[in-house]
């Protein structure tokens, strides 16, 4: 048995998305910008996909700009709002300390170029309140960018409340919905979202494609110059098979969202329940307001990379926020923002489920993780000190 439990990293394509993508590659090779009938057929399919994506988030088709994925969409949204703000002398941006790096690193660059960034702290469950946003908004604030749901700990933010505050104060609100799209209902009108990013491969669509929703009237800044594709705001021949595959995947998710959520959430809760019995462990993220498939826990006295490589040896694909897996010297900025000490954050494990996981697979994870944790604690000098009382248990 090999259990894929890393669906927040990426997902397997759904049969519907795969069929649509392959069919588009085989049969619809025209360039949507061409005037001949093969090209126009491609253009029609492109617009049909745009309409599907727009309808799925309650937007207008002309408000959808296809991109290479979530990172590009985040970059374009933030740079656009920042430059619009600058024209009005507004160079203050509000975000949270737990955003994806596609947001944080973009803001870091703006900070170097003169913008002022406010990083709102989160509470112990990774939540931001609309009140925090309201209190942080200033006369010169040009953008609030807050994620819909966190990629590591799954915490879902009060997006509609934040949207209402931003609208009331006349500040643009960008929402990185990469982890939420296809899994949670999104309504850009009701939630008063001005810009929203999503990526197909997080909801069983193909990799390399995503979109940026931009409310009508907001002027986008181009990241890629060239042809007139995407209303002149994103040059380059459209990745039509990917876009068609994304629309098929999204449609499939929307049609089954209620049953998928109920099913995945049940598996998630069983998994949390099953792993919570491990001594000196703690769940990261909000206990209820979390993505249906997200489980993220810290285990004291062990290091996450060795945990996840042992799980891989035992047929489980997971991820960790340890420094060794983050590619930097520090463990996950999200876990640190929750107040987890470095040594605890190093011992984190993220298991993210989808509707393709089964109860048997969850049972396999529940049977395996405690054994691996016990083994690694058995060879850990840190665990020995914790057990002897030479170091205090933190969790």
């Amino acid at each position: 048995m090999y259990v894929y439990a890393d669906n927040a990293a990426t997902t397997a394509m759904s049969p519907a998305a795969l069929a649509a993508t392959i069919a588009a590659m085989q049969e619809c090779y025209g360039n949507p910008s061409s005037l001949h009938s093969i090209g126009q057929e491609a253009a029609e399919k492109l617009e049909a996909a745009r309409a599907t994506m727009a309808a799925g988030i309650n937007a207008q088709p002309r408000e959808i700009y296809f991109t290479s994925g979530g990172s590009e969409a985040d970059n374009q949204a933030i740079f656009s709002a920042a430059l619009l703000g600058k024209k009005k002398g507004k160079m203050h941006i509000i975000t949270t300390s737990i955003e994806h790096h596609a947001v944080l690193h973009t803001l870091k660059r703006l900070e170097k170029e003169g913008w002022e960034i406010t990083l709102l702290p989160v509470d112990k469950d990774g939540m931001i309140s609309a009140q925090q946003v309201a209190d942080a908004i200033r006369e010169d604030t040009c953008l609030v960018t807050i994620m819909f749901a966190n990629n590591e700990i799954g915490t879902i933010q009060p997006v509609a409340e934040i949207g209402a505050i931003c609208r009331e104060k006349g500040v643009l609100f960008h929402c990185d919905a990469v982890q939420a799209a296809g899994h949670l209902p999104i309504d850009v009108e009701a939630m008063q979202i001005d810009m929203l990013s999503l990526a197909a491969h997080k909801f069983h669509g193909p990799k390399g494609v995503g979109l940026l929703y931009v409310r009508k009237g907001i002027i986008l800044h181009n990241l890629i110059e060239g042809g007139a594709q995407e209303r002149g705001k994103r040059a380059g021949t459209e990745y039509l098979p990917g876009i068609i595959g994304m629309a098929a995947a999204f449609q499939d998710c929307l049609e089954h969202m209620e049953e998928s959520t109920a099913y995945v959430q049940k598996l998630r809760d069983k998994l949390i329940q099953g792993l919570s019995g491990i001594p000196h462990s703690i769940l990261n993220g909000h206990p209820e307001k979390r993505l249906p498939g997200n489980v993220n826990m810290c285990f004291e006295g062990i290091e996450g990379e060795s945990l996840l490589l042992w799980l891989d040896q035992n047929g489980i694909a997971a991820s960790s926020g340890s420094a060794c897996t983050s590619g930097s010297l520090d463990p996950s900025h999200v876990l640190l923002a929750l107040g987890r000490p470095h040594e605890v954050a190093h011992g984190s494990l993220r298991l993210t489920l989808s509707e393709y996981n089964t109860e048997e697979e969850v049972d396999h994870i529940i049977a395996t993780v405690p054994k691996v944790v016990e083994y690694l604690r058995g060879i850990s000098p840190v665990w020995e000190k914790l057990e002897k009382g030479e170091l205090p248990h933190v969790i």
């Binding site: 290091e303 490589l309 340890s322 010297l329 840190v382 020995e384």
Partner: protein, 146 residues
């Protein structure tokens, strides 16, 4: 694959893992905050390391380098053990990713720390090179002061 077969072998089937109650020297290096702690126990008879054990908190390469380092000094003289370099450990493992080289440095330092402890316990004089951390650990925040 991120790691060589040798690294995966020493990670999943570590040699000399365990503790030693009657060790003649124990060396511990690293820092939990950085995510790596290695502890090496040595048993010494007539200047020969007759037995060695390790405990490690850390990533796969930290465990694999501990395992390989213990294997490389077992049965060797103290002098030979002190000559063990992190490069030799890396080579014996068929390489490590660049960002994991510090694990091999930690293994080298753990061996030296165990020998230093053995010298201290037995009142054996040693040079300055064993007295302080050699300062390879610039990758470790808490050691940045060296």
């Amino acid at each position: 694959m991120l790691y060589s077969d040798k690294v995966m072998d020493h990670f999943t089937n570590p040699r000399n893992v365990g503790k030693m109650d009657d060790a003649d020297g124990v060396g511990e290096v690293g820092n939990a905050k950085c995510g790596d702690i290695m502890r090496i126990f040595i048993k010494v008879e007539d200047d020969i390391i007759t037995d060695v054990k390790f405990n490690t908190f850390g990533c796969a390469s930290a465990i694999a380098t501990s395992s390989m380092a213990t294997e490389m000094i077992k049965g060797k003289s103290i002098k030979e053990a002190l000559e063990l370099s992190n490069k030799a450990v890396v080579e014996a493992l068929d390489g490590l990713p660049t960002n994991k080289i510090h694990c091999s440095v930690l293994a080298e330092e753990a061996v030296r720390a165990a020998v230093k402890d053995y010298y201290d316990r037995n009142g054996i004089e040693y040079g300055d090179e064993l007295k302080s951390c050699p300062g390879h650990c610039e990758s470790c925040e808490s050691c940045a002061g060296h």
